[in-house]
Amino acid sequence: MEIVIPPFDLKSISPIIIITVFAIIILAIDVFFKKTLRDALGYFAILVVAVTGMVVGTQLGETVYSFSNMFVVDNFSVFFSLIFLVSTGIVILLSIRYTKQEGINNGEYYTLILFATMGMMLMAGGADLLTIFLGLEIMSISLYVLAGFRRDCVRSNEASLKYFLLGAFATCFLLYGIAMLYGATGTTNIKEIASFLANNPSLSNPMIVTATSLLVIGFGFKVACVPFHKWTPDVYEGAPTAITAFMSVGPKVAAFAAFARVFLVALPDVGQKWSVILWVLAALTMTVGNLVAIAQTNIKRMLAYSSIAHAGYALMAIIAGGDFGPASLIFYMLAYTFMNLGAFAVVIILGRKGEENANIEDYSGLGYKHPILAVSMCIFMFSLAGIPPFVGFIGKFYIFSAAIKNGFIILAIIGVVNCVIAVFYYLRVTVVMYMKKPVREFAPLSLSPFIIIALIITVWGTIHLGIFPGKIIALVQNSSLLY
């Protein structure tokens, strides 16, 4: 039997190779030089992320299919990879002090974060459903472990186990959907599925309809849209705060990248007919997320529900489709990365050992005690609420205009109403910070040069992209061509 080895292009996956190799090296360093180099692992991880970012940057502008069309480098995947690397970099900056404070002194922490990032990049560049699945699993398994990293804390264990059981269950749905789609079309390649469906009727085929619904469930779980959101608050609350920050951005963005590619490229026809169902999901996600967030007293839980609501806005971008849909999705994800990670940075700075000081009430009087911190928190809250001139406004504006352009006017109205609801709980944090007396003395802040750098980057991103979005929007529109 003659086996023809398909041509493979290592250059196209070079960022993934770099990040994998160095993650393994970090693991080895941690094992062999236990005490001496442990502090350096975080700095090393940042360096790895920076180098990978530069390599990814050189790939901008080319479209290369490699590994028998299983992996693709196009502007879409490159831009998403950059978003992942930015978020990972910021999360590592946030982690260096935090891990010491919480007594997490394992090098596996950084290794797993890098592996998760690698999985996300694989998801964004997946041109085959199996590649997407592989990336999703690499990312998810790393996260299941990371969520339980405060081993002596019951809540953290609970978060990890819940996330694992529900996540594994949801993955089964996704895999089953892929299998069904393979059964119906005879391929798992996204482009080939698209060309098969272009020539064959898709909606009369019950297998494709079933496959699509299973895929919606699988992706819906990963992006945490209602009614598949139940795990989010518990997992976000129990996981170490730095990991919560990571989970609320990276995996969600990665799942949206894969979601968009599958639904806009592989199933454009089905997707269009299915927009009714996604429409309902988006409306529910926004409304439930925002309404339940109002009732939260713990800031991590509040941010969890707010992240559910944001998934609803992003879902709207996928429903809108067309030229502007994917572009607005990418821009919103970038905006969301900066403002959400910024909010978590403030939560981490104010947090004390053992995840105390995480109630919204604990923030009262912050505006007088630590004005700079309070101002940055205000910036993030205003931006998350979608108030100009911050980036959250531009992102929402872009998504709503994409939705209206493609005829989803009622959905856009629901979105706008939801923004108004969201203002209530975001601004409550501001009100508490400036108009209430402190309930107790503030402990010394857990500051480090790295966390300050992270705060500066996120504040800069939130303001700069809000005022001068032109350059990024041009880049994003360039990246939205999925083919």
Partner: protein
């Protein structure tokens, strides 16, 4: 199109019907002379001692997990061995990378004390 799945559905119904009817028939026409010996759970002929719901040491799971990892390695080695000639150098390099990555994991487990029972 769905009609082609009809035999599977019929088989499913037949299987379920067979199982249920067997239980019912044996309950109806069988003789019932229960003794303590007969009612005790079957434990491969060994007398059951205490509850089966005991707590196991978590170490068993680690061993089981490591077993699965290296088991999977062997699963990958077999097809490679079968197609060794036609894969030639490419296969050798590919497999070497695969095994090196697993080796890192092996060293990691070793150094972290995964093989120590106490």
């Amino acid at each position: 199109m769905l009609i082609s799945y009809l035999p599977i559905l019929i088989l499913l119904l037949v299987v379920m019907g067979f199982a249920i009817s067997n239980i019912i028939i044996s309950a109806l026409i069988g003789r019932h002379k229960p003794t303590a010996e007969k009612l005790s759970p079957y434990e491969c002929g060994v007398e059951p001692i205490g509850s089966a719901r005991e707590r196991f040491s978590v170490k068993f799971y680690i061993i089981a997990m490591m077993f699965v990892i290296f088991d999977i390695e062997v699963v990958f080695l077999y097809p490679w061995a079968v197609a060794y000639k036609s894969l030639a150098l490419f296969g050798l390099i590919e497999m070497a990378i695969f095994i090196i990555i697993l080796l890192v994991g092996y060293v990691y487990i070793w150094k972290r004390g995964g093989f120590e029972w106490e």
